[in-house]
Symmetry: D4
Subunit: 252 residues, 8 copies
């Protein structure tokens, strides 16, 4: 309920079209549905510009299926479910129509084709980063962005990256995904003039400390225009990239 | 030198308008100027959409003044200098016209008024975060963005933040600056539908560990659409915010 | 044995009602029972106001059963057992009457109904925090407190939390349970005027570092009146909440 | 503005006693005062049961004086200012009547005598912990609690602590302050049946890591009923202790 | 080969009783046996006062059996093997006579009864520390020390520890084993006048960080006379305790 | 394509022997092959002096087999594959001729005998470091270096190391492999006058923190001439050792 | 008051020689003196075999002087004061006779010559470790041990250490002091058959992390018989070394 | 004394040319000079191929001067002194002829011109890394290597680095110096076929953690042939680079 709606309601009270009690109820009523183990936020589309996303890691298959079904029943489309193992997906798809990608463990319930617009590039340091890359790419696609994938273009072989400069430079936003030393973010950041979202991955061993090395590298990227999301957070990068990609121009 | 320019040069070689040696020189000639202690990157505006920025912390006043003077001589305007102490600024302003803000330690050499466009909101948790906030705000303004400041709206008194919802929701990008527990990023992220750039600050003591607490909070923000820059990196946030703010719409 | 009891014993020695040796024995006799692998503290109820609690994680099922049985034999009721896996519970319930909750892995041996008093609110950031929440809630209930559960009210959707303000503000003590960025503690702390016990959880991935992110956030909570227990320590929060909830007023 | 006030206002709109615009203004009007560098929260006493507290560390003397003067002008008494160096205090006391303690760096502006009630015990491991102890004690006293100080009763000489058992056991809440290994919290926690607030201090060297050692000890305290605040956060402990100390009994 | 032996050999060369080549061989000949995957140090008994100990964790059962058999063949008795899983022990005992304790995973090959002397006390915080305690106790016993076990005497119930003061004070050396907050070392250190060896254990969860909390506590123990070994290093503590226990008095 | 080749191509354009478009293609054509999940770098031998190496940890058996087959088809010999589990090796050897060592998990596809030259010594602290040692040794051998193995010569028994001084001092480069406290690097560094490559291993427990203890020791080695690679990175050490070992003398 | 004294007192009560109140007073009377800022533990000599030691770091000069004067007045000799800066020492020596060493910042008040017995060796890695070494050596000497200093015998030049083998092997206890990589403890531990106390120092830079590198090395020392004290804790090592050095033999 | 010298001495004993006592003295005589606070290692040139280097950070000016003077008196030339502040240098140059560079704080006592050979390249990310770079370059030069400096060629402007490819590729060894994200090491490693020594610097702020970020990046460098030295350890890199640069070819 925004300012205008509130003023509208107050005027209805003034005019007698609404009782004070009804207005009170209207003001404090929460735009969500409590199903016991979760409060489903049906109005997030209005408030945040996108549906609530289901984080699958800490939930049972039954809980995921329940939430997705309730959201689908309320009319939501392209409901994203992240970090959902294949066996959970098998349960969920009995409750709702489900697209599922086992590499990234991303699911999209009630998937509906939509035109993909703009240009998001997902670049990765190595083949092992693919699950995180695909989480980012599938997220951005589910939300309506066109995605170009540039995989295995790590900085140890710069020519592989430089050969794709045209792709990089035509992007509206680049997602740079890398583990180990995470240098890709700095190098890409120096080559483009659009926002770069860096995603550190847990790929590596020893002093990579589960992604900490890449995370610190990216936070300290010497190139400007780079920001960072959590380790392995392909979803977060894809979500933000879509938001940036779909920005309108400034009205003059 | 991009693909088109290269093809153009090659054709000039073919037509005899350019010698192979000249073309070679052209291909490998670096678009920067080596002044001994620094390689000034005069083409960054073309490549990255903005001038090189001078990081003042590790340089002597003389080095800063030298770089700025050379850039000014090459025609650069609104040259940003960050983390420059007041005594260094006093030296630099003898070499180039300089705007200097002692709170954020930001300098702008060869400053030129330009119209400010769009809408960047800088929100902060507390009064102590002001130096970082101002670094962000002055950076974005120097690069051409209109900035609204919402200071001291930390989550311990939510009503202060909620009272400014209109400002928040009219932003094209929000910079959320907070130390201590850094919760501001999550809360703001849940209230808006534009990109949120989170800046952890080193404000705090004990287990804030110089900003680590806020940094981790922001990386783990439960709201979507949030990305993070380095601790106290107001410049980076302002730079990226300007880049996002000034995005054009997708051409159809 | 407190000061009064000691003086009483000494007077009995003076009067000849007790031999010095008996008094010595009385002074140094430990109010516990050594059963080989454990020293059961039968007087903790007197000294600390509650029974000894059995930490199940590092003990064999047989050890747990042995300790519980000995305590039950000594008359203890509502004996709490924490972090006990289901297969251990199956062994223990052959030795003592046992209530067992598989979500929180809490057991209560020799459970006896008692009136629940006061008001403890357990609020959580997300569905995945439920095991810790339930450990807290069941502990407080086993010790005699009335508990209200507010689950999945994380700060990314503030309206869900604000809709339950009446519940929050009627609490005598609030337990705020959250993983990831742990912002719930700060936000709740700013909304209530009772003590808030913050419980960081290990829910999350990457830079949540098994709960460290939430722990640091909570220790740095900008709201006053908040204190923190160990990561995932629902038991500790429930125990302390019950102690605070059941406090008597100051005698004038 | 709570539920009842809101219903009251809505009824005034219905009855024509208040215009919709005035009601709107009333609903969204923030109960704070924006003085440029700070948003003073005048309603915190109502919402949180105590005044806003001024964190002096990151503010200039002029900012502190300005905030305190504005609060005093609005009628606040016993305004706490923490982490204020002596030279800042000298500036502040020219603006408002000020009590100042240089050991703890605590100031109380507009100080008014009030009866001290209940019983808070502040126990410390060593003489070096005194600044933190006094911050806790002065805070609790400023908020109306009676405080007993037990300093230098560390666990390396248990008899010093055991000799004060009567004091400890008569407390309604104990604040245990210790650096180095922080064992005091566990030992005290095993001796009393009231809530224990543990405050790790940065006293120590080497592997004390500025208080981390004591912090971890206290979070892992094997005694129940213990919770922890930030390193050196005497204020937070004193604030919470007062809140617990002044609790009313459960109404039957 | 010590100084005297070397002088002796050199004189034999001078007298012609030994050839230079033989003396050279004697000087540089290593007192160990190379069996491919290990260099068995047969002279460690002379040099360090005890046999080489076999660290079982990183070796295959065959390697352990091979080393133990070779040492037994060379006449070693009471050969300690640490961190050997039960299935490895089953293999080893086919090669050498083996005593094996599954709780501590300690093995003793070629075990021979010997008189136990002096007094080592092993005190532990809780039942869950038993594997580490037994590793310490069995090690000290295998090396010839008499050991008294005081288990589950953690500081949350001080009376359990104080009741065993006689045992503690009659020790020549105390091993204090504790996880979680590790306060036992400080408390014991304050009660005795003999060396205390502190062993942090990985018992605990959350902010115990696999024993780091206890380790830091013990390194910062406020009592004097305490030193620390690695987390879970019962063997190291038992070995050192035996060495201290068996010290001779100073010859006058 | 290096400078000379580029000049050559440009001259061909000038002479009409090559079209501008062909030259352009030549300049920007990437010397790699994109097979979907990987960009195979066929020219690395020219640029870096060795083939691309396949990091097996994050790839499926099918991906490894595909890359190796493609490289073999392009004529590569002695293709190194690291961190490949035995079951993956079983799949790969159906696609290419494969040598596989299960201890180090190193594979060499299309292995061809070549003369081994120079002298690389691999020294290790203990038997448990063998997998890392063998990864280093097999890598150096696959690349053409002669390797001497000195295993189990840790500093706790210096005589074992000193007995092999001749071997150490005849090396052109030494690889020092050690876990736990990693002191071997410092001691070896003090004994030789050739480069020492230190490899920390994750062997150990407790405060070895998965190799961090050895890593820090080696970075702080008080002997000069020592550099360090990642924890357990036997491959990196072997690769670099081979590069150093095979260096030519300075041409005068 | 020990068991025998207690029994004695109880018998005096029985015989009427002591009133119950006097006995009570005797039992609970703390053997310390409360001087406001400190509880001086006059009975520590009886209980722990040595006087209380004054930790000078966190105390004012006046507090140190006050405690030392009170202890001297009570008859204590050789009162150790550690981490006392020279300007504090200047104040203290006006209150009590004081020996002061500016290198180690150790003071000894009321110093009295006593015969030094046994043999403690203090070995150090480098010249920069001298302050910690001297703290250890002066402590041990003040407590009655004979000390031999072997400085600058780090492992990068083993021959310097091996040349002093006779000194090392004649020790009853060795204190090994080293910063940087801390390898000295392992090497010394492999050469002697007496207890080794390792003291990590904060000497170094970068990845020495203020002594953490040396601390971890020493905790992971591969030699047996080594235990560790806090970083830079020369006092603790000297205290413990004296305790071990002065041990009596086992009575048969 | 090596094997041959020992055999020679033994034969002299056999032949009567040397007494056993003289031979003994010869075997155990340490090739160093004890001047109280230091053991000067005069034979390190023989054993390690270079003089002992004086680490100036933890020593007084007088100690440095004393050691350098003694070394000079013993005939050493080009004696390196690192981390020596200018005021110490002023003292030292009164004792020995001294070259001193205030940027890197490197001194060279008894400096003698020598021909510089081979090719070491020192490349750095930014101007602020210059002190570390110069420490590396001056060290390598003092030891006889020819050095090329490529400063301010960080990866945010790749063209600056690529323009110097000829320099990079003509090197026998490259030292890559970088702070912040340390990506330079990976990028350089991918461009050259010689050994790369990476030096992380403490340049940066926030999450650079004093060089930890760059250190981790470099340890995880995805390019092969890279090894790492301690943070800011320009000396170590220069020393090792010289050792590698001056390697002779393999004798066939």
């Amino acid at each position: 309920m925004d300012r205008d709606q509130l003023l509208h309601a107050l005027r209805a009270v003034q005019s007698g079209d609404m009782s004070p009690e009804a207005a009170l109820d209207c003001v404090i009523r929460a735009p969500f549905e409590d199903i016991g183990y979760a409060n489903i936020d049906h109005h997030r589309l209005l408030r945040n510009g996108s549906n609530e996303v289901i984080y699958g890691a800490g939930k049972t298959a039954e809980q995921i299926a329940g939430i997705a079904a309730r959201m689908a029943a309320a009319g939501s489309e392209n409901i994203l479910i992240t970090r959902m193992d294949a066996d959970k997906a098998a349960v969920v798809e009995r409750a709702v129509p489900l697209f599922y990608d086992p590499v990234s463990r991303v699911g999209v319930a009630n998937r509906v084709e939509r035109p993909l617009v703009g240009s998001v590039v997902v670049a990765s340091g190595g083949t092992s980063d693919m699950p995180v890359c695909e989480e980012a790419a599938l997220t951005a696609e589910a939300l309506g962005s066109r995605v170009t994938r540039l995989y295995d273009v790590g900085v140890a072989g710069l020519h592989r990256l430089l050969a794709r400069l045209d792709d990089l430079r035509s992007a509206r936003v680049v997602i740079a995904v890398a583990g180990m030393e995470g240098a890709l973010a700095s190098v890409v950041g120096g080559l483009v003039d659009c926002p770069v979202i860096a995603v550190p991955t847990s790929v590596g061993y020893g002093a990579s400390f589960g992604g900490v090395s890449a995370l610190l590298s990216m936070l300290n990227a010497c190139a400007s225009g780079v920001s960072v999301v959590n380790i392995d957070n392909g979803f977060g990068a894809g979500f933000l990239a879509n938001r940036i990609n779909r920005m309108k121009g400034i009205e003059s």
